[in-house]
């Protein structure tokens, strides 16, 4: 008796009661589909974040100065000097001053617009191009000019793409728009990268009293020097502050790693929850197999009378259970792909993020393996029961 024939018989039995087989599979289908979608979602999220971080530049470091544990301080000139001293690794630097003042165009308040004070290097660090007017320049810094560069969204939304020369009020001060950035993301929207205002960091620090300059974005000469560049800055800052708590240097890849491990934890928890459905599905299969053994008591008796060994009866039921579960698994995998495709569309439409939710090939193989394993595991007990039936009692069973 070959496995192939047992599978054939199992399929025959399943086909003869399709509805019941389907309902039995449902738990497995849902469980497998859920796991597939969740894993796909995790992959999509990871890729999306990777893209995002890459677009922000993986060749940059962020330095945050808080001066904790030290009475010394660091000026932007000190920072510039550090970059200059380590020109082998460090290319450019720009302070970044977050401004939380309200932004107004005429009487309209722009709530979601991000306002940042930067220097003239920031544009090349971030690879921002100018579509209209000009970028910020060194003199704007020196003179604390009340000028700004706006994102493409603002130019389009409020000025009908004719923003240069117009006025905008930030924290009650009138600023002149001198330039417009290239469009950064495909779909411009409130709160997106294109909804942004850049102004001289000197102006931001003094005029808008955004406080001391404590954040810097530094561009590396090459991605490969991330560790070296970071170490160089660390050394320099430590020699000034003599405390490791006074500053923090983060690289984009570190942040990406952190975010990824965080999403991985979330995905793992969600997968575990979806896994419960697989457990329930397995119990469902066991239940229906026990019913099936009872219903087929007479058949088992006949087969035993005709010379079936216990091992054969056992194999037949285990295989039947495995086949049901495996079919559930396959349907679940297909459903998982379908739902992932739909979810990709929905996420794209609702959240306006182009994130592709796609189950990995490995997860397909694993999902199939798991569903077969569940079938075997939960089919074992009913199969054992079937194989142990006394042939005489089984034959007498009505």
């Amino acid at each position: 008796m070959k496995i192939g024939e047992s599978i054939h018989q199992a399929l025959k039995n399943i086909v003869s009661s399709k509805m019941r087989a389907f309902l039995t599979m449902l738990g497995i289908i849902i469980g497998i589909a859920a796991v597939m979608v969740i894993v796909g979602f995790g992959n999509g999220m990871e890729n999306y974040m990777k893209d995002q971080f890459e677009s922000m530049g993986t060749n940059t470091l962020t330095v945050t100065i808080n001066g904790r544990g030290s009475s010394r301080s660091v000026s932007e000139d000190d920072m510039y000097q550090i970059v200059e001293d380590n020109s082998e690794y460090l290319d450019k630097i720009s302070p970044t001053v977050s401004v939380s003042s309200t932004v107004k165009i005429d009487t309209e308040t722009l709530d979601s617009t991000s306002v940042t004070g930067v220097n003239e290097e920031y544009f090349s660090i971030k690879d921002y191009g100018i579509s209209d007017g000009r970028a910020l320049q060194y003199l704007d810094m020196v003179n604390r000019q009340r000028v700004c560069v706006v994102g493409a969204y603002i130019a389009q939304e409020y000025y009908a793409d004719d923003a240069v020369g117009q006025k905008i009020r930030i924290g009650g001060n009138k600023f002149t728009i001198i330039g417009v950035l290239n469009q950064q993301v495909d779909e411009m929207e409130e709160g997106s990268t294109d909804d942004m205002i850049l102004l001289p960091y000197t102006t931001a620090a003094r005029v808008l009293s955004a406080g001391t300059i404590s954040n810097y974005t530094i561009m590396l000469t090459s991605e490969d020097f991330e560790t070296d560049g970071k170490a160089a800055i660390e050394d320099a800052l430590y020699s000034i502050f003599e405390s490791e708590d006074a500053y923090r240097i983060t690289s984009m890849s570190e942040m990406l790693e952190m975010m990824t491990s965080m999403t991985n934890i979330i995905i793992a928890i969600m997968t575990a929850i979806a896994g419960i459905s697989l457990l329930v599905g397995g119990i469902g299969i066991m239940n229906i197999m026990l019913v099936s053994v009872t219903e087929r008591t007479r058949e088992i008796g006949i087969r035993k009378a005709l010379g079936a060994k216990e091992r054969f009866i056992m194999t037949q039921f285990v295989i039947e259970s495995a086949v049901i579960s495996a079919m559930g698994g396959l349907i679940g995998i297909a459903a998982g792909y379908g739902i992932s495709a739909i979810a990709t569309q929905v996420v794209g439409a609702v959240l306006d993020v182009s994130m592709t939710i796609v189950p990995s090939a490995a997860s397909v193989v694993i999902a199939f393996g798991i569903s077969v394993a569940i079938g075997i595991l939960f089919g074992y007990l009913p199969a054992k029961k079937a194989s142990r039936l006394n042939p005489i009692d089984a034959l007498r069973y009505e």
């Binding site: 024939e5 006949i302 035993k304 005709l306 060994k309 091992r311 054969f312």
Partner: protein, 246 residues
């Protein structure tokens, strides 16, 4: 020549609460290869009990059963299954065909357990079905056949593996007299082709088909002899007393 079926003081007891039911009580008998024997008796006399033991579906509580010289009591479940498959062909009153399999597939089942290849199985199953004249019903499902046809399928299944012994428990119990005669005719043919046939029935008129009758009463053998002897079919106290010889 060794007996193919040999009972040495076989008893089968069931404990039902306080009472001990002696379904088979100290039965001794010898059946030679190629014999056609009918085991007869009233309901509850122990016929099926004997059949189960002969068929290696059950083992005696006391006593020994030798099948072709081999003590069945010493065999494990797997070995019993193998013996059932190789040595015994069962024919049941209720046909006991597998309802989800076609006629041909039903006949193939014991051959499958014997480990035959698909082609061999098909070949032997077709031959068996030809012998019972059902070659035109190969792909029918059992429930598409008449009772007599179903019983012929089960006969084909019993003989397909060419077992030494054919065991038939009330094979005509659910059939009309004409079909019954056909089935009994088939059993006689099987005997002619060299099988040992054991027919179990409560019906004397059917039992006489066999050459030899073993009559049971309350688990004991009360007659064992030729079927054409007058005392073989007459049930009376006097004969019962006189017939306890074996």
């Amino acid at each position: 020549m060794t007996s193919i079926i040999s009972f040495h003081s076989v008893s089968k007891h069931y404990q039902m609460g306080d009472t001990l039911v002696k379904a088979a009580d100290d039965i001794s008998m010898e059946i030679q290869p190629g014999e056609f024997v009918a085991i007869v008796g009233r309901s509850g006399s122990g016929k099926s009990t004997c059949m189960n033991i002969i068929g290696c579906l059950d083992v005696p509580t006391i006593g020994e059963y030798l099948l072709n010289g081999e003590n069945v009591g010493t065999l494990n479940k797997n070995q019993l299954a193998e013996i059932r498959n190789r040595m015994l062909g069962f024919i049941f009153q209720q046909y006991n065909l597998l309802p989800k399999l076609t006629v041909l597939e039903n006949v193939e089942v014991p051959l499958m357990y014997a480990g035959l290849s698909k082609a061999e199985r098909r070949q032997k199953a077709m031959e068996a079905l030809e012998m019972v004249e059902l070659s035109d019903k190969l792909i029918n499902m059992p429930n598409q056949l008449s009772g007599g046809q179903q019983q012929r399928v089960s006969i084909a299944r019993a003989l397909a593996g060419n077992p030494a012994i054919i065991l038939a428990d009330e094979p005509t119990g659910a059939l009309d007299s004409k079909t019954s005669r056909d089935v009994l005719g088939l059993l006689q043919e099987l005997q002619k082709s060299g099988h040992t046939v054991v027919l179990i029935t409560h019906d004397n008129s059917i039992a006489v088909t066999a050459e030899r009758i073993i009559r049971l009463e309350d688990g004991c053998v009360v007659y064992d002899g030729l079927s054409d002897a007058p005392e073989a079919v007459v049930i009376s106290q006097s004969i019962m007393e006189g017939g306890t010889q074996s």
